[in-house]
């Protein structure tokens, strides 16, 4: 396990380094922060002064070596917009996004596993057809559309939940639902096809022959083996949620990393962009390691090393 983790960490560290270097240079290709931060009628002298104050007047390679020096001590520099350490801003925003992702993927998994398994029990039945249709719709709808329609129907029309914000439990319902719908749609399909395949295997037929009942066959015998593809896809979707919470956080006013990144990209707040990419990438690396470990737990034939 230790060797496995070390190997993964080395490879991920290398990828992470290349990613951050790429983000460093690509961000600087997109224009000067002075142009975006200062009003349009700011004179050239003020733009130059701003660049000097924040080190943007230095050649890019000098800025890069300064960045690398800071990276060694995990100092990503100060946020241009907020004047606070970039890493602190990212770490403050991260828990909200992680919590949002955790609730969303948990909800998506629970609904998908039960629905997929029941749909697989009688393929082409009415339940299966409805589940397939709804899951395809869920997997195809864009988040921003679901979010706005969700607000109009459940907050404005039915007054069941608040439109936005983070202060109470009810304010999490819509964002979690919106984020969960897409992965849920996809996972229902994966769970269904995986379950169909497992249900036709020899040991399930044996269980049937021994007189085991339907619910027991699905949830005791077949489900665990059918879970491997579901976990693989769920892991991928969870990473997507961490990255893709941008729209949901922006619309619902969630102070998470997605909203922070969008604001930082808009204003070319390089330090926060770099810290955000780094922290998100580490979170996804840890998620992938976690998924590998879950594989081994689910299927003892798989060894993490």
């Amino acid at each position: 396990m230790g060797i496995y983790l070390s190997k993964r960490a080395i490879w991920s560290g290398l990828s992470l380094f290349l990613l951050v270097v790429m983000v460093f240079f690509m961000a600087r290709l997109t224009g000067s922060p002075a142009d975006l931060y200062l009003p349009i009628d700011a004179p050239t002298s003020m733009r130059e002064e701003f660049s000097r104050l924040h080190g943007f007047d230095q050649p890019v390679y000098v800025q890069f070596f300064d960045f690398l020096r800071g990276l060694v001590t995990l100092d990503f520099g100060q946020s241009l917009r907020q004047g606070r350490p970039a890493l602190a801003l990212v770490l403050e925003a991260m828990p909200t996004t992680l919590l949002l992702a955790l609730w969303s993927i948990t909800a998506a998994l629970m609904i998908a596993i039960v629905t997929g398994a029941l749909a697989a029990w009688r393929p082409n039945s009415v339940f299966d057809r409805i589940a397939t249709l709804l899951s395809l719709i869920g997997a195809s709808l864009p988040n921003f559309w679901i979010a706005i329609v969700g607000v109009l129907v459940f907050a404005v029309g039915l007054r069941l939940v608040p439109t936005s914000g983070t202060g109470s439990v009810s304010q999490w319902i819509l964002p979690v639902a919106v984020l969960a719908i897409r992965p849920c749609g996809l996972l229902v399909q994966v769970a269904r096809s995986s379950m169909i395949s497992v249900l036709s295997s020899a040991y399930v037929k044996t269980a049937r022959a021994k007189g085991a009942r339907g619910r027991r066959i699905i949830f005791v015998h077949a489900l665990r083996n059918a879970m491997l593809p579901v976990v693989t896809v769920a892991g991928d979707q969870a990473a997507g949620i961490i990255n893709g919470a941008v729209i949901v956080e922006t619309i619902f006013g969630f102070p998470g990393i997605g909203k922070l990144m969008i604001d930082s990209i808009t204003y070319r707040d390089f330090a926060v962009i770099q810290a955000g990419v780094m922290v998100t990438a580490i979170a996804i690396f840890m998620l992938n390691v976690g998924i590998d470990i879950v594989y081994a737990v689910l299927d003892p034939r798989i060894r993490v090393n």
């Binding site: 009628d41 907020q82 706005i148 109009l152 069941l160 439109t163 202060g167 009810s170 204003y267 070319r268």
Partner: protein, 502 residues
């Protein structure tokens, strides 16, 4: 006996309903939904959109303010201002004012605030309004300050309306996210739930009805509108036309912004017939009430009628497609390359429905025989095209622009846009240059007339742009409060003007 699922469902509904009702604003507290979370709320950024709606005249007050209706300069923290000659103005300060932290408001505090605003150690954006002017403030006595401007500024009383007087202990190296001022509201907190202010019960002026105010940041117009509809917020800014569907709540107002399409003087746009044709071939009325609000006003120049220097004699270009097509044909016959592709460049997120506006205009111009292609750009790329030094390889191009002049005088528009040395000027006309230079040093009627004449030459003889509209903003105001937006509401939103419904 109810089964388990009924109990669970009932409990969930009760939880949601309770929490939902708690989110509704109550009592003398108001919640305001705005589109963008600002980077800071420093009192030296009172001219920056998004910052000013929170801080200006609510937390931090300026020395003077402008009347929203006629841009007349009114007293605030300054009660009197006299031109002493040689660029020096003597300012008398209001008595009986203290900062929120208990420090006295006096001449020393004003000197500190003005020195800080001018310092290069902190990026105070209000400085852009007085760029290239060196201000030196000196305390004469406890309640009198001399402000010397180099070069001398006849608009000093207007400049005083950009000078937010922050508390004397405000950092001189960092922009503040917890400002201290003298205003009717004081800062409480800023976190994931927004910016919270509370009423300053020691305020020198009239006591506001609102006790607590919370600004929340929601990027989506439909969501801001929904928040007011459900009672979660009382006022929402920047409601897009398609979301302003409740005449009882939605209020339109001229916001000081004017749009135009700037013409880059490259072939075929360097031919005045083509520039005339573009203006004649644009049906301004067709977009009013369709893709734009029905309250926008077709413009003749780049400033609003309430601004000193506006020329009331200029007429909106008529829509005459035949004449426009004839001008294009005439230019073509004279060898002007009218078939050449002309880029019509927009900027993303400039104003609601901008892409639709540009596509409609493109169709109108295609109809008169021009080859126009719409191109939307991200802000940083767009800025490279509009600011000097211009790219060396510029080809025929038309650029969507929007400009706000809420400062009462054409000076804040004319030099920058039309003087040959202006940072965003496409012009090099000696008559306009000398009129602008002359007007900038004059006061009263002469100043007005010279700016008006410059605007006439620009609109009638040079035609460096296609004037579009004086724009409106839409604000949604909920039933719990009474608030009438005015021409300055997007830059100076005073919580004291909000009355609670009886």
């Amino acid at each position: 006996m109810p089964n388990r699922s009924h109990i669970l469902g009932g409990a969930l509904f009760a939880l949601v309903a309770t929490a939902s009702s708690l989110a509704v604003a109550q009592g003398a507290d108001v919640k305001i939904a705005v589109p963008v979370e600002p980077a800071n709320i420093d009192g030296c950024n009172t001219t920056v959109n998004g910052i000013n709606t929170i801080v200006k005249e609510n937390i931090v007050e300026t020395l003077t303010v402008l009347d929203p209706n006629d841009s007349k300069v009114l007293p605030r923290l300054a009660t009197k201002w006299d031109d002493q000659g040689n660029g020096t103005w003597r300012i008398s300060l209001r008595e009986g004012v203290t900062f929120h932290d208990g420090k006295p408001f006096n001449a020393d505090a004003v000197v500190k605030a003005i020195t800080r605003m001018q310092s290069t150690g902190v990026t105070c954006l209000d400085r852009t309004k007085i760029a290239n002017v060196k201000l030196t403030a000196t305390a004469v006595d406890e309640k009198t300050v001399d402000i010397h401007a180099d070069p001398a500024q006849v608009l000093m009383p207007v400049f005083l309306s950009f000078m937010g007087i922050v508390g004397p202990d405000t950092s001189t190296t960092e922009l503040s996210r917890a400002p201290v001022g003298t205003g009717p509201f004081q800062f409480v907190s800023w976190d994931g739930d927004g910016v919270k202010l509370k009423r300053n019960d020691k305020y020198w002026g009239k006591k506001p009805e609102v006790e607590n105010a919370t600004y929340v940041f929601r990027g989506e117009s439909a969501l801001r509108a929904a928040m007011v509809k459900t009672g979660e917020a009382d006022i929402a800014f920047a409601i897009a036309p398609q979301d302003a569907d409740d005449p009882k709540m939605d209020k339109s107002f001229l916001n000081g912004e004017t749009t135009r399409i700037r013409l880059i003087m490259q072939p075929p746009l360097d031919d005045i017939r083509i520039r005339q044709a573009l203006n004649l071939g644009f049906d301004r009325q067709a977009l009013v009430g369709t893709v734009l609000s029905d309250k926008v006003v077709p413009a003749t120049q780049f400033i609003l009628p309430k601004i000193n220097g506006y020329n009331p004699d200029l007429k909106v270009w008529p829509f005459d497609v035949d004449k426009a097509a004839a001008l294009v044909a005439e230019a073509k016959a004279a060898g002007v390359p009218v078939d050449k592709e002309i880029r019509l460049v927009g900027r993303t997120n400039f104003f609601p429905n901008e892409p639709e506006v540009l596509e409609a205009i493109q169709q109108m111009w295609q109809a008169i025989g021009l080859n126009v292609k719409v191109e939307m750009m991200e802000s940083a790329e767009w800025l490279k095209l509009v600011n000097k030094p211009y790219p060396a390889d510029r080809s025929a191009m038309m650029i969507q622009e929007m400009h706000d002049n809420n400062n009462g005088d054409a000076a804040f528009t004319m030099y920058f846009r039309y003087h040959s040395k202006g940072q965003q000027s496409e012009m090099n006309n000696s008559a306009v240059d000398s009129l602008i230079d002359k007007a900038m040093s004059e006061t009263g009627e002469h100043r007005t007339k010279d700016f008006q004449e410059a605007n006439r030459i620009i609109a009638d003889e040079i035609i460096p742009a296609v004037p579009q509209y004086h724009m409106v903003s839409q604000m949604r105001v909920g039933p719990r409060v009474n608030y009438e937006p005015n021409g300055l509401s997007t830059v100076q939103f005073e919580l004291s003007d909000i009355a609670l419904s009886k």
